[in-house]
Symmetry: C2
Subunit: 559 residues, 2 copies
């Protein structure tokens, strides 16, 4: 909302139209809340009622929008604070990235749980903005409207395009609605009623603030001076340059940071749902070592940082993009609700379906108009990226399905017999205490043990062989030359050759002696050759049908 | 050189003094080349002749200087091109980073070998700059000197500080000398003569270019206009705004890129020598999979990028820092040469020692004067960072010595007997085809096998147990609850408990079933739990004196 009006001189009727739109959507969504008390984001509602593809379209649109919301809110917040402290203008990107870092860290540490911190900016916003607007309205009613100063943008006639620009600009407010719908379970019981009430209050307040500030800006003839947002100009004209004005700007920054933060609670939740359904990498489900959603948070943070750096101060150019995504998700979700009522029937269902149908109609019409009229200004990006994302979703699910099929135990012959390792190879970096346990262990498994030394420095091999023969006279050692100083290459060639020469079974083992430093950071001082070898061996395709086992024998250093 | 004069309006006498200094150092260094035909950087000369600590001081100073050279040269090069195309000024940092990326990639791919590319800018520089200066000198001799316009800096009297500022500014040229001395083996045979001749030619050309441009700038009364380097102003006043002027600016950028590139051939070489001596992480020696010096290149690139971002357009502020490092290395290297001649004697040695002694005296005096007078402007940074680096060098060597001592076979009892594994634990993520080989392999090793399933989702454990018991009726399965959804924590606790309960030997094994996707990039779609477990186990300290072996049994997926 603020992001949008920051860039625009809007006329009051357009603001009114947006408010009406908002009201319809809010009404329609409050039904989603009652229909899906366990939290029904657009993805779930569309998927359950319309099918997988509409669900994925909604999901792709939403994910893009969450990233855009975070980027646009942060840059708009920085614009607000830089209006008060112009020295910050050259550092817009840096300040926005610093804010992003703070929000990311807070969310990684689980800020979502301590939601009370987040309510402070919201209340601060209400107790500063509402009195300011009321004061402005009183002043307006006393002194009467100023002859409207034509803003720079007013050169172009108030065509359909301008109306849509205003629509798009107002859309940021919409994510608040989607956010409540996604997060129903986070409300206190009775969840549905509380979420629904919050939604109504929010829609009302947003309408008042939106209409109030647009109306005042226009009728008081506020014009921004130099590098200043229009809301900063409004606050300055009402409150002067004193501490109250600065409080308003700081509050604007904070409320926009909260707006960015809603992305941080929603994006990871939606990616987790998608990951659970197999459409995104499994790591995003947050299973694992206390990694609850942290991968989703990091992904969002990286994408937002990328957009901030790419678009910098001109992030409001992304608003048309945002509008396409938001209205696409809204339309699909509302249409899904219509199907939901038709299927479920129940009390008053034709009325409920009617409301959702009206919502779908309004948002769908808006979507088509925006997509067509704003095609060149950025809507085409959505039309490229949404199908790309859906393609990615489907590819990922197809991979997971393949894996499940390959891992199935069906049709496996019941020949589960213990397997004996017939031969072992030990790559060594020299003869020292770190390899003793490894050699002993290998000799405990089989009598067919071969040591291998890759000669990285020409001539070193002979010395190693002498020490080896003194300690392990009964174990053969092979010295491999390495003309290109490669460790892994000659080793893999040797193993391949061995597999070809010996036909003594389909199982063999590599024993890797690995010494572990006393402190983890000391490992930067070592070559990690065991790790290099292990990675190469794990991904080595066994062409001859051999199965190779890799055995790490750690040797712990004491200091 | 250009970096320095870019920031300064120098007076001719100071330029002359710098040229004399340069000549002395060049003379003195040509002896180092003959004394150390295998390439004697300041580190080697100082270490061999004066001891380890002086060697490390020289090395620390050099490493810092190579980074500064790369950063200062690139930002100065960008300033040169932005003088011709002022639209680039706001993107100084971005352009410098892009150049850095190109140089880094070229060096990683082995540009050093195809040195011919590098000679193009050098010849271009000579065939454009020399004619320009000659033309300028002719014009000067025809029209006579202009009444010197007082540059902005001339407000301060020409004190010792200003002289030193000029000295420092001239120092960038010095690294060329160190570079030749380091890289003697890269010359065609006879290496010493060719390197020495190159050094003389370089010193002469630099003196001519340096004196010529400073003299012309002063006597023609050239004053930069707006955001412009002084050399750009000189070229513009001589050549106008046409293509010749642009050629000069492009050439300046290219020659400075070459200057930055010398750091890229020297820094990795010096770090490799230090790493071989155990003062830096072993990875920098470039042993390993074709990683020839690439770690050194990446380290230099990261440090340079950091400085460019930190100092941006004002990188010439780093010049005092640079001067301290350069003169410290020069002084130590020359002093080392004096000791070298005293020890070695040989033909004409008192004369040779005298020349090196003069070099050491001149550079040493300059060092003291700079360090004292420029202490506040940045020299203090060197005085902090050089000891810090030396401390790091010594810590690293002490770690490597500790490791060598711990890995020594001395005093090891000759009880090298095959070791038998008494018991095996297999963590599983479910019962599927990927674990079959692992279980069979474990049962081939011992009859004491235990399966472990960590229950990340409450309630899943029972279903897993039923399938397990159907397939492996003779192997017990333990289901571990995980209230915090942690995979590794409960597993480690279970293993600790097992070690405490069983006293059946000091060796046990973990068998990790690990499925390997067909394509490497598909691994982003899997949880990498085998990797997580392996890392945790490798670094687990065996408190009860147990030795634990980790066995990877890969299962290759086909698509």
């Amino acid at each position: 909302m603020i992001a949008g009006s920051a860039g625009l001189g809007l006329s009051f009727p357009i603001g009114l139209a947006i408010t009406i739109l908002l009201t319809i959507v809010a009404f329609s969504y409050s039904q989603t809340i009652h229909g899906y008390p366990s939290g029904g984001g657009s993805y779930i509602v569309a998927r359950e009622n319309l099918g997988t593809l509409p669900g994925l379209i909604a999901a792709a649109a939403l994910l893009i929008d969450y990233i855009l919301t975070a980027a646009v809110s942060l840059t708009a917040g920085v614009a607000a604070i830089a209006s008060a402290f112009p020295a910050l203008w050259p550092y817009q990107i840096e300040v926005a990235l610093a804010l992003l870092l703070v929000i990311t860290l807070a969310n990684l540490r689980g800020l979502r749980e301590t939601g009370t911190i987040m309510t402070v900016p919201v209340y601060l916003f209400l107790v500063t903005y509402i009195p300011m607007l009321v004061y402005g309205l009183i002043r307006l009613s006393l002194q009467g409207p100023v002859a409207p100063v034509s803003p720079p943008a007013a050169v172009s006639p108030l065509t359909l395009v301008l109306v849509l620009h205003a629509f798009s600009a107002g859309c940021t407010a919409m994510t608040g609605i989607e956010s409540i719908s996604n997060g129903v379970p986070a409300f206190k019981p009775p969840e549905s009623q509380n979420a629904s009430r919050t939604l109504s209050i929010m829609a009302f307040l947003m309408g008042f603030l939106f209409l109030g500030s647009i109306g005042l800006t226009q009728y008081l003839g506020v014009v921004p001076v130099g590098d200043e947002t229009i809301l900063s100009a409004l606050a300055r004209s009402l409150l002067g340059n004193g501490p109250l004005y600065i409080l308003i700007q700081v509050t604007t920054l904070l409320i926009l940071a909260v707006a960015a933060n809603t992305s941080f609670s929603d994006f990871p939740r939606v990616t987790a749902i998608l990951a659970k359904d197999g459409f995104l990498p499994r790591q995003l489900t947050g299973l694992g070592d206390r990694l609850v959603f942290s991968n989703g948070i990091l992904l969002l943070s990286a994408a937002t940082a990328f957009l901030i750096i790419l678009f910098g101060g001109s992030a409001h150019a992304l608003v048309p993009l945002f509008a396409v995504g938001a209205f696409l998700a809204f339309t699909l979700s509302q249409a899904g609700m219509v199907a939901h009522w038709f299927r479920l029937k129940g009390q008053n269902w034709p009325f409920k379906a009617g409301i959702n149908g009206l919502g779908a109609l309004v948002t769908g019409t808006t979507l088509v108009i925006i997509a067509v009229s704003k095609f060149i200004q950025g809507a085409w990006v959505s039309i490229i990226f949404i199908p790309l994302l859906i393609f990615l979703f489907l590819q990922i699910r197809s991979h997971y399905r393949n894996v499940t099929r390959q891992l199935s135990l069906k049709g496996l012959p019941p020949s589960l017999t213990p397997a004996i390792i017939p031969r072992v190879v030990i790559p060594i970096s020299g003869v020292h205490r770190g390899i003793i346990e490894a050699v002993n262990f290998a000799r405990g498994m089989t009598s067919d043990v071969t040591g291998v030394y890759v000669e990285l420095e020409p001539g070193h091999g002979e010395a190693v062989r002498q020490v080896w023969e003194a300690w392990f006279p009964d174990v053969p050692l092979v010295v491999l030359p390495s003309p290109y100083r490669s460790l892994v290459g000659p080793l893999l060639d040797f193993l391949d050759q061995l597999d070809r020469e010996r036909h003594d079974g389909h199982l063999s083992a590599i024993v890797l002696p690995e010494f572990i430093p006393a402190k983890w950071w000391q490992s930067v001082l070592h070559n990690q050759s065991a790790m290099l070898i292990r990675n190469a061996l794990l991904h080595r395709r066994r062409t001859l049908g051999y199965q190779q086992v890799i055995i790490d024998v750690p040797h712990h250093l004491k200091k």
